[in-house]
């Protein structure tokens, strides 16, 4: 029978939640990396025992962790525990994220707009998102703050920036959102290994069609009242993008405000917020088998980051947007004031698609029936930053 493993990153550690395909009884394993902010954990589609994790701290900076046995043991890539010391310079580079500089001048490649309107150099802060290759367990991408994308081809031991993203010219117009200037979404195209989509708060969405050498903004149709030119090429606060891998090129976006879709790989976007009670939010995801069935969790407003009317409601559209229904069975419908952060929703690929999300109140919910009903897997974890799920044979 199939099993599912849910990878949960929280403000104070990581947790692995496992169940059989019924998704009724759960085993909770953790905390791993107790006391550290675990921004994201994600497993390799090519090797389900290979899991990568982003471990961060305001004190000690960035750490990358890797498991090769499904989360039983972990080590920093390149520094196995217990390895005897060797002469020479320190080997650890798995947490070394160094931005490219200009080949001509050696100076920073570009600057970005700071909170006070001045231009500011890029400064690495943390890894928000790790996206393993669809085919090679040793290749993965990291979306970082300040916004950039890095790639490792040796299992996370060394990282190199794909600097065409920052260097294509719009960098000076990028600016940090309230959560920082982070690259938080990376989507790999299963039908075209040269194509990658990414999203940045607050710059917008970008795409490469040549494996990361060159990038272009893809924000036509986005409209943001909080920037001087609401229709600008860049500057939009995209919160998350989701795509059903069986239908590459059809993208769904939760923007700061507005839920959007694109049917042409991001070249053009149209709003599909429809009858949502509020179209502010962070998460968005797509049903594993029904590519027009999408999910969001509306949040009251940009000034009030909790669910609307004290009710935790997932909204589902079976028509690819515009027409939405509230899913409430099993979710608290009064006195609830949690948020659901941008990487904290995931879907499994069992026949009856399971939907998962985690809250800033520490609950992780599972719906084994595509959203019709919900059960808490755990109720009292630290604030949940990210949720990913593996469907295991």
């Amino acid at each position: 029978m199939s099993t599912v493993r849910v990878l949960v990153g929280t403000r104070k550690g990581a947790f692995l939640l496992t169940s059989d395909g019924k998704r009724e009884n759960w085993q909770v394993d953790g905390p791993h990396f107790s006391g550290w902010e675990m921004y994201h954990l994600k497993a390799s589609p090519a090797d389900p025992n290979r899991i990568y994790a982003s471990q961060t701290s305001g004190w000690f900076g960035q750490i990358i962790q890797r498991s090769d046995d499904g989360g039983k043991t972990w080590n920093q890539p390149g520094t196995p525990p217990g390895a005897p010391p060797e002469p020479g310079p320190p080997k650890a580079a798995s947490n070394k994220f160094v931005y490219d500089t200009s080949a001509e001048t050696g100076k920073p490649l570009t600057t970005h707009q700071f909170y006070d309107g001045t231009q500011h150099p890029w400064e690495f802060k943390r890894v928000w998102h790790l996206e393993p290759s669809l085919t090679d367990p040793n290749t993965l991408y990291a979306g970082v703050e300040d916004a950039a994308i890095f790639r490792s081809t040796d299992g996370g031991e060394n990282w190199h920036e794909l600097s065409g993203l920052r260097g294509h010219g719009t960098g000076p117009k990028w600016q940090p959102g309230a959560g920082g200037m982070c690259l938080h979404t990376i989507i790999l195209d299963p039908s075209n290994p040269q194509r990658i989509w990414i999203a940045i708060s607050a710059a917008g969405a970008f795409r490469t069609d040549d494996g990361g050498k060159s990038w272009k903004p893809i924000n036509r149709g986005l409209r943001s009242q909080y920037i001087p030119d609401p229709n600008a090429e860049v500057g939009h606060c995209v919160h998350h993008i989701a795509m059903n891998p069986k239908r590459p090129g059809v993208l769904f976006m939760q923007k700061h405000w507005d839920v959007m879709r694109s049917d042409d790989a991001g070249d053009n976007w149209k709003e599909v917020s429809g009858n949502l009670p509020t179209d502010f939010g962070f998460v968005i995801d797509v049903h594993a088998h029904e590519p027009e069935t999408i999910y969001v969790v509306p949040i009251k407003s940009d000034g009030e980051h909790f669910v609307h009317e004290g009710k935790l409601r997932v909204y589902r559209s079976k028509s690819g947007g515009n027409e939405w229904e509230a899913l409430t069975k099993g979710l608290p419908q009064k006195d609830c004031y949690v948020n659901v952060l941008r990487d904290a929703m995931a879907v499994d690929s069992l026949d009856k698609c399971g939907i998962y999300f985690g809250t800033t109140g520490g609950q992780v919910y599972c719906s084994p029936d595509a959203g019709d009903s919900w059960n808490p897997i755990v109720r009292d974890l630290p604030a949940v930053l990210s949720v990913e799920v593996q469907t295991l044979a």
């Binding site: 900076g61 960035q62 390149g78 525990p81």
Partner: protein, 98 residues
């Protein structure tokens, strides 16, 4: 032998309990002690000092002999009591509430 006290999370990263003791060639300075520490525990590379600039991370402090040495030159000699092993070189996380 130089004694080094690490905060809890760095001890966890390095898989050590209690104090660390290091053989460090003279001169005994912040830089030489941290070089030796990172050489023996490469998983600490980047967690105390920036990978490239080797600047102390902002929320860490270096203490020894009841003095804050955080703003001393990394190449300044450490106190004799640290050199002799009588007192440890202490890496400490800045206190933050909330």
């Amino acid at each position: 032998m130089i004694r080094v006290v690490l905060p809890y999370h760095l001890r966890t990263l390095a898989h050590v309990d209690g104090e660390v003791t290091l053989d460090v060639a003279a001169p005994i300075t912040q830089r030489s002690v941290l070089d030796a520490l990172e050489g023996r525990y490469p998983m600490l590379r980047g967690a105390i000092r920036d990978h490239v600039t080797l600047q102390r991370r902002a929320f860490l402090r270096f203490f020894a002999c009841e003095e804050d040495l955080s703003h001393e030159s990394p190449d300044a000699p450490l106190p004799d009591a640290v050199v002799s092993g009588k007192e440890p070189f202490v890496v400490i996380g800045a206190i933050a509430g909330g």
